[in-house]
């Protein structure tokens, strides 16, 4: 067991865990943050995506040891004062969530994309989300949600 300290959704956190335990499991089992989902366990589907120091990362591929001293944002950290983040609102209104299992990762990927490209081109959206698989939507409504979020200027 190792003691690891990091910041999660703005709060300081200390966990005792085997150093190779996956960040995804620490989030879900130790911290009871179940918004990150396991879809494949090998970094293909992006359902477990979180932001680490602002980078989009598949938490199933990160040993908790590597989280030492980082700032982590999960889907649970996007809400402010009980209000949906504008990206969440756009996914809801545009039909960007169907079964919902890819949605937390997809929303964090959108967050990351809009930080990099506040007014993304269609190609930038397609490429920016290509690490997050969705089997329900065919991606069209997700693209609409991202465009609406960009129009709302969420990245300022």
């Amino acid at each position: 067991m190792t003691t690891i300290q990091f910041t999660i959704n703005g709060e300081k956190e200390t966990v005792e865990a085997p150093p190779m335990k996956r960040l995804l499991d620490v989030l879900r089992e130790d911290l009871h943050l179940t918004g990150a989902k396991e879809g494949c366990g090998e970094g293909e589907c992006g359902a477990c995506a979180v932001l680490i120091n602002g980078d989009l990362v598949n938490s199933c591929l990160v040993p908790i040891l590597q989280a030492e001293g980082t700032e982590i944002t999960t889907i649970e950290g996007l809400v402010t004062e009980g209000k949906l983040h504008p990206i969440q609102q756009c996914f809801l209104e545009e039909g960007g969530a169907q079964c919902g299992i890819c949605t937390p990762g997809m929303i964090l990927a959108t967050h990351h994309l809009l930080e990099k490209h506040p007014q993304p081109t269609p190609l930038q959206i397609q490429e920016g989300l290509s690490g997050n698989l969705c089997r329900c939507t065919g991606y069209m409504r997700i693209f609409n949600a991202v465009q609406q979020a960009a129009l709302a200027g969420v990245a300022e």
Binding site: R28, T34, G35, A36, K37, E38, G39, C40, G41, E42, E44, C45, A47, T74, I75, E76, V79, L84, Q88, Q89, F91, L92, E93, E94, G95, A97, Q98, C99, G100, I101, C102, T103, P104, I107, I125, Q126, E127, L129, S130, G131, N132, L133, C134, R135, C136, T137, G138, Y139, M140, R141, I142, F143
Partner: protein, 770 residues
């Protein structure tokens, strides 16, 4: 009417949408019960054989584990679907790789993989078969005997029960033959199969989990545990995609978890990881379709002979009904003076295939729509003109003899699709540009229909029931076993109730599907929820309203406040109010299973899909660059959800055609990972254009018909028709990967090809008589 605007046809927010975008929706693996253990499955490592020994490696502290074998099953060792051939746990023999033999449970999830690996099973191997052809040879009989050897089901469907007269073949100007194949396809829901089971000697079994059909699992548990239905409670948790993959399979994993819960005395969570889910659970049936068609020189279909075979895997599961839908859709939306479809589902030593969106229809429609383009070429007509000369229309009879009394206008749908896609101009443009380009572009289409609801007498047998109750707050709550897994069940059923009750959408609740509290509204499959269950919700809502009006508490013209007041008054006086509606077969719906004739479905959705492709002749990869869909689906209840269904189905269809290949190695799925089983990403999807025509059906809620499966049918043939236009090469098998295109396009001429260019291949159709 007191000022509530119509909500049917609007796009209100998805009922459970807020929980989903917040990451708060609870999927089964997000749930932890007190004292919960974890389960794992010990599976066959060989495709077929006799179990000779089972040894437990002494390196594992087995006393800490619960171990379940078939001997622990209190009832029947069977997973019931349509037959009882499928064991819950293998005893003496295994018939496919990954067949479950033992179950393990332990409080620590992390210790299970090593324990599974430490169970050493030896076998006397028996010869295995993996293809429809091997199964047909019957050199190895792996299922059934006599006529049924290796054969789960056969159908003979003949229009008017008349065989094709020999003179039709003799007099035909052309006889066109073709063979078409489709591969297995993984549903690849992003949430794997998973359940949590509890057992109590007094109250029985409770299973909660990811599933489409809670009452299917109740039925499975009744047999495995020898318990009455009221002691088998099933609760659907938020379900992260299903597509048919959680129709029949939860009966397996649910029974397994419940056995572990009973023996361990703990709640047991059994959630597969991706590799196990892909290797062991059901997939779309592979198929082989052979067409022989008699055509006149003016392009009229005179007669068709269709041999349709699907690979069912090692046990029957749902193969007979998958075969049935595939059979009925095999003749497509065309008028056939004579047609004979011979269909069969064959056994192989592959893990059982099961339900997947489309349910047999994508297979037989792929074959027919490729074959129609072949016929067009043979006759010398355009693909468009050939279809126009043969479309079914209002007043015609289908291959099962069903009179199409509701309006059908495929001519118009095709006109609209070619206009919206710019089909004619693009066809000319690509013909002009392709000779001087390494990127060969093409445009092609498919025209098709999809029946809504259970096939034949299925809906009568289901006898579905819907209830609406009043909460203590005076709000209506819909009680159904119909499940939400992304398609929008919760939302559309609430819309239907809101409109019928003239209440705001926000004031309609829908209960979590829990068989302890909701009636059996049937399984959530077969494009039946909007039409069949929606109609029952409409009727139950009318009945609720009538009760309140009759009680004298509710005026005929009421506001939402009036309704709530009346509801609370009624509850104060009578304690509770629950209205119900049970399925009644519409007038004039008749089906004969013996002759395979009659009203196959109460309604059909009709569609034309147009694909544009680019084939790169340096990499041999084919990409879909644009996709247009035009469909008539009855009343569109929720435009955003409906378009989402079409777009998602098209994306799965693109994967089916060009990306998703199951590689089998001695009966094992070799690519049971997302790394090497490739589904379309956001970067692979073209713009998908969705156009709805609305012709309300008298059978569905506010005129709705089925929509969920339809978009799976058209993409694959439209894409391969477009690839033939682009390359001049006729590909008749999916998935079509770059290596397949390379192999065909670089093949030396005259070594055998199905191309219709006589310069390459010579004639492949015969001119029977001039």
């Amino acid at each position: 009417m007191a000022g509530t605007p119509p909500i049917v046809g609007q796009s209100p927010l998805r009922k459970e949408g807020k929980a989903k975008v917040l990451g708060q929706a609870e999927y089964v693996d997000d749930i932890t019960l007190p004292g919960m253990w974890f389960g794992a499955t010990v599976r066959s490592t060989i495709p077929r054989g006799r179990i000779t020994s089972i040894n437990f490696d002494p390196s594992i502290p087995w006393q800490e584990f619960t171990i379940v074998s078939a001997a622990d099953i209190p009832g029947e060792n069977t997973i019931v679907h349509l037959t009882k051939d499928h064991p819950c746990l293998a005893v003496t023999h295994v018939n496919h790789a990954e067949e479950p033999i033992l179950l393990l449970a332990h409080p620590n999830r992390a210790l299970l993989p090593a324990a599974v690996a430490a169970v050493h099973i030896t076998y006397e191997e028996l010869p295995s078969i993996y293809t429809i052809e091997d199964s047909e040879k019957k050199e190895q009989i792996i299922w059934g005997e006599g006529e049924n050897a290796n054969t789960f089901k056969t159908y003979l469907m003949q229009k008017n029960q008349v065989p094709i007269p020999e003179e039709v073949w003799e007099k035909a100007d052309y006889i066109v033959e073709g063979e078409y194949r489709t591969g297995a396809q993984e549903q690849l829901y992003i949430e794997n199969n998973g359940v949590i089971a509890e057992y109590d000697p007094e109250t029985g079994v409770t299973v909660r989990g990811s599933m489409q059909c809670p009452f299917y699992l109740v039925h499975a548990l009744e047999l495995v545990f020898n318990l009455p239905a009221e002691k088998c409670r099933v609760i659907q948790t938020e379900t992260g995609g299903a597509f048919g993959g959680k129709e029949d399979f939860p009966s397996v994993i649910g029974s397994h978890a419940a056995l572990l819960a009973m023996k361990s005395g703990h709640p047991v969570k059994l959630c597969y990881d991706r590799a196990e889910d892909m290797a062991a659970t059901t997939k779309r049936h592979p198929s082989r379709t052979r067409h022989r068609t008699a055509v006149s020189k003016d392009g009229k279909l005179l007669a068709g002979e269709i041999d349709f075979a699907i690979d069912g895997g090692a046990y029957a599961t749902l193969s007979p009904v998958v075969l049935s839908r595939g059979t009925i859709h095999a003749p497509g939306p065309y008028l056939w003076p004579y047609i004979t479809v011979r269909a069969k589902a064959m056994a192989t030593n592959i893990p059982p295939h099961g339900a997947f969106r489309g349910f047999g229809a994508p297979q037989s429609i792929f074959a027919l729509e490729r074959h129609m383009d072949k016929i067009a070429k043979a006759v010398g007509l355009t693909p468009e003109e050939l279809r126009r000369r043969n479309f079914l229309s209002t007043g015609d009879r289908t291959a099962t003899g069903q009179l199409l009394s509701d309006p059908v206008d495929m001519q118009h749908l095709l006109t609209r699709a070619v206009e919206e896609s710019g089909y004619h101009a693009k066809r000319k443009q690509f013909d002009r540009e392709n000779p001087i380009s390494t990127i060969k572009r093409g445009i092609g289409f498919a025209t098709f229909f999809h029946g809504s609801g259970f096939t034949g007498s299925g809906e009568r047998r289901l006898n579905s029931l819907v209830e609406i109750e009043l909460t203590v707050e005076g709000l209506p709550r819909i009680l159904v076993s119909s499940t939400e897994f992304g398609q929008g069940t919760n939302t559309i059923l609430c819309q239907v109730a809101a409109q019928t009750l003239r209440l705001p959408y926000d004031q309609i609740l829908i209960a979590q599907p829990d068989t302890g509290h909701v009636p059996n509204s049937g399984p959530t499959v077969a494009s039946r929820t909007a039409m069949i269950v929606g109609k029952l919700v409409e009727r139950a809502a009318q009945s609720l309203c009538a009760t309140l009006v009759t009680s004298g508490d509710l005026p005929h013209d009421y506001t939402p406040e009036d309704f709530r007041r009346a509801a609370q008054l009624y509850l104060a006086r009578h304690g509770a109010l629950k209205s119900e509606a049970r399925y009644e077969s519409p007038e004039g719906i008749f089906w004969d299973d013996e002759t395979y004739s009659g009203e196959a479905y109460p309604a059909y959705a009709w569609a034309v899909y147009v694909a544009e492709v680019a084939v790169d002749t340096s990499t041999y990869s084919a990409t879909v660059t644009n996709f247009h869909t035009v469909q008539e689906v009855g009343k569109v209840l929720h435009p955003i959800l409906a378009a989402g269904q079409i777009e998602g189905g098209v994306a799965q269809g693109i994967g089916y055609a060009l990306y998703e290949k199951c590689l089998w190695n001695n009966g094992h799925l070799a690519n049971n990972q997302m790394t090497n089983y490739i589904m379309p990403t956001s970067a692979d999807i073209p713009p998908i254009h969705v156009t709805f025509e609305e012709v309300p059906s008298p059978h569905g809620a506010y005129g709705a018909k089925g929509i969920g499966e339809l978009p799976m049918d058209g993409p694959a043939p439209a894409i391969l028709n477009a690839i033939e236009h682009a390359t001049g090469v006729s590909f008749n098998e999916i998935p079509l990967l770059p290596e397949d295109i390379f192999e065909r396009m670089t093949r030396v001429p005259n070594t055998g090809t199905e191309s219709l260019d006589p310069a390459i291949a010579g004639p492949i159709f015969s001119e029977a008589s001039a």
